[in-house]
Protein backbone atom coordinates (compact mmCIF):
# COMPACT_ATOMS: atom_id res chain seq x y z
CA UNK A 1 0.00 0.00 0.00
CA UNK A 2 1.26 3.46 -0.86
CA UNK A 3 1.07 5.92 1.97
CA UNK A 4 -0.04 9.47 1.35
CA UNK A 5 0.24 12.55 3.52
CA UNK A 6 -1.87 15.49 2.39
CA UNK A 7 -1.31 19.02 3.59
CA UNK A 8 -3.71 21.84 2.77
CA UNK A 9 -2.53 25.37 3.52
CA UNK A 10 -3.96 28.83 2.95
CA UNK A 11 -2.57 30.19 -0.33
CA UNK A 12 -0.50 32.88 1.34
CA UNK A 13 3.26 33.30 1.33
CA UNK A 14 3.47 33.32 5.13
CA UNK A 15 2.73 29.59 4.92
CA UNK A 16 5.65 28.86 2.57
CA UNK A 17 7.92 27.79 5.39
CA UNK A 18 5.26 25.53 6.86
CA UNK A 19 5.07 23.82 3.47
CA UNK A 20 8.82 23.48 3.02
CA UNK A 21 9.45 22.26 6.56
CA UNK A 22 6.68 19.69 6.21
CA UNK A 23 8.30 18.52 2.97
CA UNK A 24 11.63 18.12 4.75
CA UNK A 25 9.92 16.13 7.48
CA UNK A 26 8.23 13.86 4.92
CA UNK A 27 11.59 13.21 3.29
CA UNK A 28 13.12 12.39 6.67
CA UNK A 29 10.26 9.96 7.34
CA UNK A 30 11.11 8.13 4.11
CA UNK A 31 14.80 8.03 5.05
CA UNK A 32 13.99 6.65 8.51
CA UNK A 33 11.58 4.08 7.10
CA UNK A 34 14.32 2.67 4.87
CA UNK A 35 16.43 0.43 7.09
CA UNK A 36 19.73 1.99 7.95
CA UNK A 37 19.15 4.90 5.58
CA UNK A 38 21.72 7.54 6.47
CA UNK A 39 20.43 11.04 7.09
CA UNK A 40 20.98 12.17 3.53
CA UNK A 41 20.77 15.94 3.80
CA UNK A 42 20.60 16.35 0.05
CA UNK A 43 17.44 14.26 -0.13
CA UNK A 44 15.75 16.18 2.66
CA UNK A 45 16.91 19.52 1.31
CA UNK A 46 15.71 18.65 -2.19
CA UNK A 47 12.12 18.37 -0.98
CA UNK A 48 12.39 21.38 1.31
CA UNK A 49 13.67 23.52 -1.56
CA UNK A 50 11.45 22.18 -4.34
CA UNK A 51 8.29 22.55 -2.26
CA UNK A 52 9.28 26.06 -1.21
CA UNK A 53 9.65 26.96 -4.90
CA UNK A 54 6.48 25.24 -6.06
CA UNK A 55 4.33 26.59 -3.23
CA UNK A 56 5.64 30.12 -3.77
CA UNK A 57 4.90 29.93 -7.49
CA UNK A 58 1.43 28.53 -6.96
CA UNK A 59 0.60 31.40 -4.62
CA UNK A 60 2.45 34.10 -6.59
CA UNK A 61 0.91 33.32 -9.98
CA UNK A 62 -2.62 32.73 -8.71
CA UNK A 63 -5.10 34.77 -10.71
CA UNK A 64 -7.14 36.11 -7.80
CA UNK A 65 -4.63 37.04 -5.16
CA UNK A 66 -7.36 39.05 -3.40
CA UNK A 67 -9.05 35.89 -2.11
CA UNK A 68 -6.32 33.28 -1.86
CA UNK A 69 -7.41 29.71 -2.51
CA UNK A 70 -6.12 26.86 -0.34
CA UNK A 71 -3.14 24.97 -1.72
CA UNK A 72 -3.06 21.18 -1.40
CA UNK A 73 0.22 19.28 -1.35
CA UNK A 74 0.36 15.47 -1.52
CA UNK A 75 3.36 13.48 -0.35
CA UNK A 76 3.24 9.97 -1.80
CA UNK A 77 5.52 7.34 -0.29
CA UNK A 78 6.51 4.36 -2.43
CA UNK A 79 9.35 2.16 -1.24
CA UNK A 80 12.49 4.28 -1.75
CA UNK A 81 10.69 7.03 -3.67
CA UNK A 82 8.91 10.16 -2.52
CA UNK A 83 6.63 12.09 -4.90
CA UNK A 84 5.15 15.51 -4.16
CA UNK A 85 2.25 16.92 -6.14
CA UNK A 86 0.81 20.42 -6.01
CA UNK A 87 -2.27 21.48 -7.94
CA UNK A 88 -3.30 24.97 -8.92
CA UNK A 89 -5.73 26.69 -11.25
CA UNK A 90 -3.15 29.23 -12.43
CA UNK A 91 -2.54 29.93 -16.13
CA UNK A 92 -0.63 27.13 -17.85
CA UNK A 93 3.15 27.43 -17.97
CA UNK A 94 6.12 25.48 -19.24
CA UNK A 95 8.55 23.94 -16.76
CA UNK A 96 11.28 23.90 -19.42
CA UNK A 97 12.35 27.49 -18.81
CA UNK A 98 15.99 28.17 -19.67
CA UNK A 99 18.39 28.84 -16.79
CA UNK A 100 18.75 32.60 -16.29
CA UNK A 101 22.04 34.22 -17.34
CA UNK A 102 23.57 35.01 -13.97
CA UNK A 103 25.95 37.62 -15.44
CA UNK A 104 23.02 40.01 -15.95
CA UNK A 105 22.05 39.66 -12.27
CA UNK A 106 18.46 38.53 -12.79
CA UNK A 107 16.50 38.48 -9.55
CA UNK A 108 13.99 35.88 -10.71
CA UNK A 109 13.63 32.76 -12.77
CA UNK A 110 15.62 30.31 -10.64
CA UNK A 111 12.69 28.39 -9.14
CA UNK A 112 12.04 25.82 -11.87
CA UNK A 113 15.80 25.43 -12.44
CA UNK A 114 16.25 24.53 -8.77
CA UNK A 115 13.24 22.19 -8.81
CA UNK A 116 14.51 20.37 -11.92
CA UNK A 117 18.04 20.10 -10.57
CA UNK A 118 17.34 18.76 -7.08
CA UNK A 119 14.55 16.36 -8.12
CA UNK A 120 14.87 13.26 -10.30
CA UNK A 121 11.75 14.19 -12.27
CA UNK A 122 9.51 17.23 -12.45
CA UNK A 123 6.39 17.24 -14.59
CA UNK A 124 3.49 19.60 -15.02
CA UNK A 125 0.29 18.26 -16.52
CA UNK A 126 -2.67 20.43 -17.44
CA UNK A 127 -6.07 18.85 -16.77
CA UNK A 128 -9.42 20.69 -16.80
CA UNK A 129 -7.87 24.04 -16.11
CA UNK A 130 -5.63 22.67 -13.37
CA UNK A 131 -1.82 22.50 -13.32
CA UNK A 132 -0.66 19.30 -11.63
CA UNK A 133 2.97 19.73 -10.70
CA UNK A 134 4.59 16.46 -9.72
CA UNK A 135 8.14 16.03 -8.40
CA UNK A 136 9.82 12.71 -7.54
CA UNK A 137 13.09 11.59 -6.11
CA UNK A 138 14.52 8.18 -5.26
CA UNK A 139 16.38 7.83 -2.01
CA UNK A 140 19.16 5.64 -3.39
CA UNK A 141 19.15 6.00 -7.15
Amino acid sequence: MNRIITLTLPGELIFARFASETAAKAALLLINSCDGGADDWKFTHAFELAVSEAFTNTVSYAQKPASPQPVTIDFIFEKQCLTVTIRDTNPPFSIETPAPDIESYPERGYGLLLMRTVMDTVTCARENGTNIISMSKQLNP
Binding site: A16, S20, A99, I102, E107, G111, L114
Partner: protein
Protein backbone atom coordinates in the same frame (compact mmCIF):
# COMPACT_ATOMS: atom_id res chain seq x y z
CA UNK B 1 14.07 35.36 10.04
CA UNK B 2 16.15 37.67 12.18
CA UNK B 3 18.59 40.30 10.97
CA UNK B 4 21.35 41.91 12.99
CA UNK B 5 23.62 44.65 11.68
CA UNK B 6 27.05 45.30 13.17
CA UNK B 7 29.45 48.00 12.04
CA UNK B 8 33.07 46.95 11.35
CA UNK B 9 34.86 50.10 10.19
CA UNK B 10 33.27 51.18 6.93
CA UNK B 11 31.63 47.80 6.42
CA UNK B 12 28.32 46.59 7.88
CA UNK B 13 28.10 42.93 8.81
CA UNK B 14 24.52 41.76 8.19
CA UNK B 15 23.90 38.49 10.00
CA UNK B 16 20.76 36.62 8.92
CA UNK B 17 19.26 33.93 11.12
CA UNK B 18 16.56 31.49 10.08
CA UNK B 19 14.78 31.41 6.75
CA UNK B 20 15.15 33.60 3.68
CA UNK B 21 12.23 32.81 1.37
CA UNK B 22 9.33 34.66 -0.27
CA UNK B 23 7.79 35.41 3.13
CA UNK B 24 10.88 37.12 4.57
CA UNK B 25 12.75 38.84 1.70
CA UNK B 26 10.80 42.09 2.05
CA UNK B 27 11.97 42.45 5.63
CA UNK B 28 15.60 41.91 4.57
CA UNK B 29 15.33 44.54 1.84
CA UNK B 30 14.07 47.06 4.40
CA UNK B 31 17.01 46.67 6.78
CA UNK B 32 19.16 49.84 6.85
CA UNK B 33 22.46 48.55 5.44
CA UNK B 34 20.72 46.57 2.71
CA UNK B 35 18.39 49.37 1.61
CA UNK B 36 21.24 51.91 1.45
CA UNK B 37 22.86 51.14 -1.95
CA UNK B 38 26.09 52.97 -1.05
CA UNK B 39 26.78 50.82 2.03
CA UNK B 40 29.17 47.88 1.59
CA UNK B 41 28.08 44.78 3.47
CA UNK B 42 29.26 41.35 4.44
CA UNK B 43 26.29 38.98 4.62
CA UNK B 44 27.08 36.56 7.43
CA UNK B 45 25.03 33.47 6.58
CA UNK B 46 26.33 31.20 9.34
CA UNK B 47 22.88 30.99 10.95
CA UNK B 48 20.85 31.07 7.74
CA UNK B 49 19.12 27.68 7.80
CA UNK B 50 17.21 27.88 4.57
CA UNK B 51 17.48 29.89 1.37
CA UNK B 52 15.30 29.52 -1.72
CA UNK B 53 15.21 31.35 -5.06
CA UNK B 54 13.21 34.28 -3.65
CA UNK B 55 15.86 34.81 -0.99
CA UNK B 56 18.64 34.41 -3.53
CA UNK B 57 16.91 36.95 -5.80
CA UNK B 58 16.96 39.46 -2.95
CA UNK B 59 20.70 38.90 -2.45
CA UNK B 60 21.37 39.28 -6.19
CA UNK B 61 19.27 42.46 -6.36
CA UNK B 62 21.23 43.83 -3.41
CA UNK B 63 24.53 43.01 -5.14
CA UNK B 64 23.42 44.72 -8.35
CA UNK B 65 22.18 47.90 -6.67
CA UNK B 66 25.28 48.21 -4.54
CA UNK B 67 27.63 47.58 -7.51
CA UNK B 68 25.93 50.44 -9.35
CA UNK B 69 27.09 52.62 -6.44
CA UNK B 70 30.52 50.88 -6.21
CA UNK B 71 29.57 49.27 -2.92
CA UNK B 72 30.27 45.61 -2.17
CA UNK B 73 28.10 42.66 -1.15
CA UNK B 74 30.24 39.84 0.18
CA UNK B 75 29.03 36.53 1.58
CA UNK B 76 30.48 34.57 4.47
CA UNK B 77 29.93 31.26 6.27
CA UNK B 78 27.20 29.69 4.17
CA UNK B 79 26.23 26.13 5.07
CA UNK B 80 26.08 23.27 2.54
CA UNK B 81 22.36 23.70 1.91
CA UNK B 82 22.69 27.38 1.11
CA UNK B 83 25.84 26.75 -0.96
CA UNK B 84 23.89 24.25 -3.04
CA UNK B 85 21.44 26.99 -4.09
CA UNK B 86 24.31 29.28 -5.07
CA UNK B 87 25.97 26.53 -7.08
CA UNK B 88 22.92 25.33 -8.99
CA UNK B 89 22.07 28.88 -10.05
CA UNK B 90 25.71 29.88 -10.70
CA UNK B 91 25.30 32.71 -8.19
CA UNK B 92 28.65 31.65 -6.69
CA UNK B 93 30.23 33.15 -9.83
CA UNK B 94 29.02 36.68 -9.15
CA UNK B 95 29.53 36.84 -5.37
CA UNK B 96 32.76 36.89 -3.41
CA UNK B 97 32.25 34.07 -0.94
CA UNK B 98 34.29 33.62 2.25
CA UNK B 99 34.40 30.91 4.89
CA UNK B 100 35.22 33.48 7.53
CA UNK B 101 33.44 36.76 8.29
CA UNK B 102 36.59 38.57 9.49
CA UNK B 103 38.40 37.71 6.25
CA UNK B 104 35.42 38.98 4.26
CA UNK B 105 35.41 42.25 6.21
CA UNK B 106 39.18 42.71 5.58
CA UNK B 107 38.71 42.09 1.88
CA UNK B 108 35.72 44.45 1.65
CA UNK B 109 37.63 47.13 3.53
CA UNK B 110 40.51 46.89 1.05
CA UNK B 111 38.19 46.95 -1.94
CA UNK B 112 36.26 49.99 -0.76
CA UNK B 113 39.44 51.85 0.33
CA UNK B 114 40.82 51.41 -3.19
CA UNK B 115 38.02 53.45 -4.74
Amino acid sequence: MNISETQAGSITIVAITGTLDASTTKELLKSPAISNPAQSVVMDLEHLDFLDSSGLGALIGTLRKKRERSAETLISCMNDRVRRVFEITNAHRIFHIFDDTAAAVDYATQLTARI
